[in-house]
């Protein structure tokens, strides 16, 4: 049987997590190719709709990475993200989507190791859940 390879859409803020992912690369750390990056200026740019769409389109997991609380390049963007994420998990449950498949993590520009670690662990977790069942179910 072919190994199940999940698709994980990752929204990475430019200043911290994307730079941290770059550092993971420069340090030649390894993580699965299931991690698919989209760079945004700030995690607060991420509209919950992007996440819902990703799931309905077939993504198996969505990862949001931002600066550590208090370290946001734009002062307070990640606080918006934190609240929005809390709300999003509720909405997910209400919609019948699986909020366990969402992940928010604070990874700074110097935490390449953390990026690789989170990527590995999160991919393993998503693998254990199997394919996203809500794929193609509804179109919003």
């Amino acid at each position: 049987m072919k190994e199940y390879k999940p698709k994980i859409v990752c929204f990475l803020c430019k200043w911290c997590t994307s730079a941290g992912a770059d550092l993971a690369g420069t340090s030649r750390l390894k993580y699965p190719a299931s991690i698919l990056p989209i760079r945004v200026m700030c995690s607060s740019r991420i509209d919950p709709m992007f996440v819902v769409k990703a799931f309905l389109n077939g993504a198996d997991g969505v990862f949001i990475g931002g600066c550590h609380p208090g370290d946001c390049h734009y002062h307070e963007g990640n606080y918006h993200t934190r609240r929005r994420f809390a709300m999003l998990t509720k909405v997910f449950d209400t919609l019948g989507l699986d909020s366990k498949r969402l992940k928010l993590s604070w990874i700074s520009a110097s935490e390449g190791t953390k990026f690789a670690k989170v990527s590995n662990e999160y991919t393993e977790k998503i693998k254990s859940y199997g394919e996203n069942p809500s794929k193609w179910n509804v179109f919003l």
């Binding site: 200026m41 740019r45 077939g58």
Partner: protein, 650 residues
């Protein structure tokens, strides 16, 4: 539809090693919108860029995707290439297939598949990119420098000499930093104060430098070229204009506290001047210790002050200054001896740290430059220096090499020997790092001429017995366990970022590494810039370094600032928020979300607006907009959703 050219870089084998670029080229050739696709060994090379320029003409391209390294490295390189061909620089997208793909995956098939998707997202984004021109903003030609040590002083003088105004903020009552505490400096043994004080005086006299001593930066707002800084000047309680520095006040002051300048080895009064050459040359009252602030007031100094310069009711003053750029030079502190369990937790008076020993060596120090130990004033005849105290110890202390300790220790040993001819210095070391210009010669000469004995190994323990410090060490070269009954021990403590700078650095949102040092924009190629534009780094705030390196870095930061200020205006990224007036209901959520005050309500049209110059382009206001009226230029909802689709379909 746009005619997009895709250029895939091999980056030697960095990309090609794990990504099958030929297969990728083949697969993407048919992708909608891709008018031309090519792969090449080094896209960033001149031939690589020429390939792009030529292809733009030949294939009439109006957009380019370069699949290569992280955009932080070569985005501008390729944007400039587009500029040359009169194509708007925002018609370029970088697909990061190196740092976030080829370098982190091993499986060629999977990495190639992922690279394919990454490039497709870049193509999708580019399809909807608008051509934008930079927003120009005014440039305030003044510079803020935080920290008045040698780094801040050097940068201030360089910029001021270049003809621009400098605001120098120092938290202590005098500038000078740690360098003014040093006795003599390696490898030339010139007196630190002799080379430092002329620079301090120059700062004080320079017409372009405005000095705020005893002051702190409270906040900085704005963006490169247009910052506003709030400075708090703590009251000194002594009016510098009235004070004649007659020193009638200190003899009458009844409060005695350990002197910071002498690292606690001498005493000062609660009203004091930090050291004779202080700049600004004014007395200061230390409120924590002065009795004049307690309910039962003591007014002895005020009574003694003939010019009536003392005012206990003085309040902090606040200043707002406009500036265009900031240099952060907040310096270092020694790693505390109190953390060194096996060396007595700082309990033994004759176990000193490096700065305390500098004071003992210094002619202006507590012993007037004569070699006496703190406990009983005896001249130490057996003296042990221990390198790597607190450094290179990831398990319990600082993981890194503090870089300066090897050199300051050999200097200490040499200066000691000059003062105590019949004394014997011993140095415990793990490695001797003497990589600077004339450093190795200095070490070798000191060892040969002054008979300094190096032991290769670390000291496991120090304890006190009678009036001796018993040092248990090792010489790993001879496998001999060494025991020395020393009169004095000097710990070459490592250095860490300045304790009190932590607050200001976190207020400024500057990135620091795991040890608290400021992170430079690029470790090799942009060593004095911060990733935050408009912020520059100098001195030990960025990492351990000695005086020559600090001064070089300070001058480099000054050069970077001068280059910035030589522009007439500053260009601001056009990736800002935009409002669709037809959809906006004027609810104002965006206004409350924006951290920069860039969003305002237009009272007449009843809609929200964007002030382009103030907008930093974070996008927070866009995702809160309930009617999707707000969008981010070149990163619209539609663009992001198209990228999401590429990743999630299949």
């Amino acid at each position: 539809m746009k005619r997009i050219g895709v250029f895939i870089c091999h980056c030697g084998i960095n990309i090609k090693g794990t990504i099958d670029v030929e297969k990728l080229t083949e697969e993407l050739a048919e992708y909608p919108g891709v008018a031309y696709i090519e792969n090449y060994i080094f896209m960033c090379s001149e031939p690589g860029q020429k390939l792009i320029r030529d292809t733009i003409v030949e294939h009439k391209l109006d957009g380019v995707v370069v699949a290569a390294c992280s955009p932080t490295l070569h985005e501008t390189t390729f944007q400039d290439a587009l500029d040359e061909m009169n194509i708007n620089r925002h018609q370029l997208e970088i697909a990061n297939i190196r740092e976030q793909c080829s370098w982190v995956h091993d499986d060629i098939e999977e990495a190639t598949r992922k690279a394919n998707l990454i490039i497709k997202t870049a193509v999708e984004k580019l399809k909807l990119n608008e051509s934008l021109i930079p927003i120009s903003a005014p440039l305030t030609k003044r510079v803020l420098i935080i920290g008045g040590g040698i780094a801040g002083i050097q940068a201030a003088l360089d910029i001021a000499d270049g003809g621009y105004e400098v605001i120098l903020v120092e938290k202590e009552p005098s500038i000078g930093g740690h360098m003014i505490q040093l006795s003599e400096t390696f490898p030339t043994l010139d007196c630190s104060q002799c080379i430092m004080t002329p620079k301090m005086v120059a700062v004080n006299k320079h017409k372009n430098i405005k000095l705020f001593a005893n002051s702190e930066v409270e906040s900085i707002e704005g963006f490169v070229g247009n910052f506003k800084v709030n400075i708090k000047r703590k009251p000194q309680y002594v009016d510098p204009d009235k004070c004649t520095i007659c020193d009638d006040c200190t003899p009458v002051c009844p409060v005695v506290v350990p002197s910071e300048y002498d690292e606690g080895m001498s005493w000062r009064k609660a009203i004091y001047i930090p050291f004779p050459q202080s700049i600004p040359a004014t007395f200061t009252i230390d409120t924590e210790n002065c009795l004049g602030f307690n309910p039962i007031a003591c007014t002895k100094c005020s009574d003694a002050c003939e010019p009536d310069a003392i005012d206990y009711d003085k309040k902090p003053e606040y200043f707002e200054e406009e500036i265009g750029a900031v240099i952060v030079a907040t310096g270092f502190d020694l790693y505390p001896v109190e953390n060194m369990a096996e060396y007595g937790y700082g309990k033994y008076p004759d176990v000193l740290d490096g700065l305390q020993f500098e004071r003992i060596l210094s002619a202006t120090g507590p012993t007037g430059g004569e070699m006496h130990r703190p406990s009983d004033g005896k001249v130490p005849k057996e003296i042990v220096f221990i390198q790597c105290s607190g450094s290179r110890d990831p398990e319990r202390h600082l993981p890194y090499c503090s870089r300066i300790c090897c050199m300051y220790t050999i200097k200490h040993a040499k200066l000691y020997k000059h003062k105590v001819h019949d004394g014997q210095p011993y140095i415990f070391y793990i490695d001797i790092r003497s990589g600077g210009k004339r450093y190795e010669e200095f070490v070798q000469q000191a060892v040969s001429e002054d008979g300094i004995v190096y032991f290769r190994g670390k000291v496991a323990r120090i304890y006190k017995e009678a009036d001796k410090m018993i040092v248990h060490g090792i010489d790993t070269l001879t496998s001999k366990k060494i025991e020395i009954k020393a009169d004095m021990v000097v710990l070459a403590m490592g250095i860490k970022p300045n304790n009190s700078a932590e607050k200001v650095i976190s207020n400024l949102k500057l990135n620091t590494d795991e040890n608290g040092f400021l992170i430079e924009a690029h470790p090799k190629l942009r060593p004095v810039e911060s990733l935050q534009s408009g912020f520059y780094l100098a001195g030990t705030a960025q990492g351990p370094k000695d005086i020559p390196d600090t001064v070089s870095q300070a001058s480099a930061a000054a050069a970077k600032v001068l280059a910035l200020l030589s522009n007439d205006e500053i260009s601001h990224s056009p990736i800002v928020a935009i409002v669709n007036e037809e959809l906006c209901s004027g609810c104002g959520i965006c206004v409350s979300t924006c951290p920069y005050g860039a969003r305002e309500l237009d009272e007449i049209k009843k809609i929200a607006t964007v002030n382009d110059v103030l907008c930093e382009g974070c996008g927070a206001c866009i995702s809160v907009c309930p009617s999707s009226a707000a969008q981010q230029k070149n990163l619209t909802d539609e663009q992001i959703l198209n990228m999401v689709k590429i990743y999630s379909y299949l």
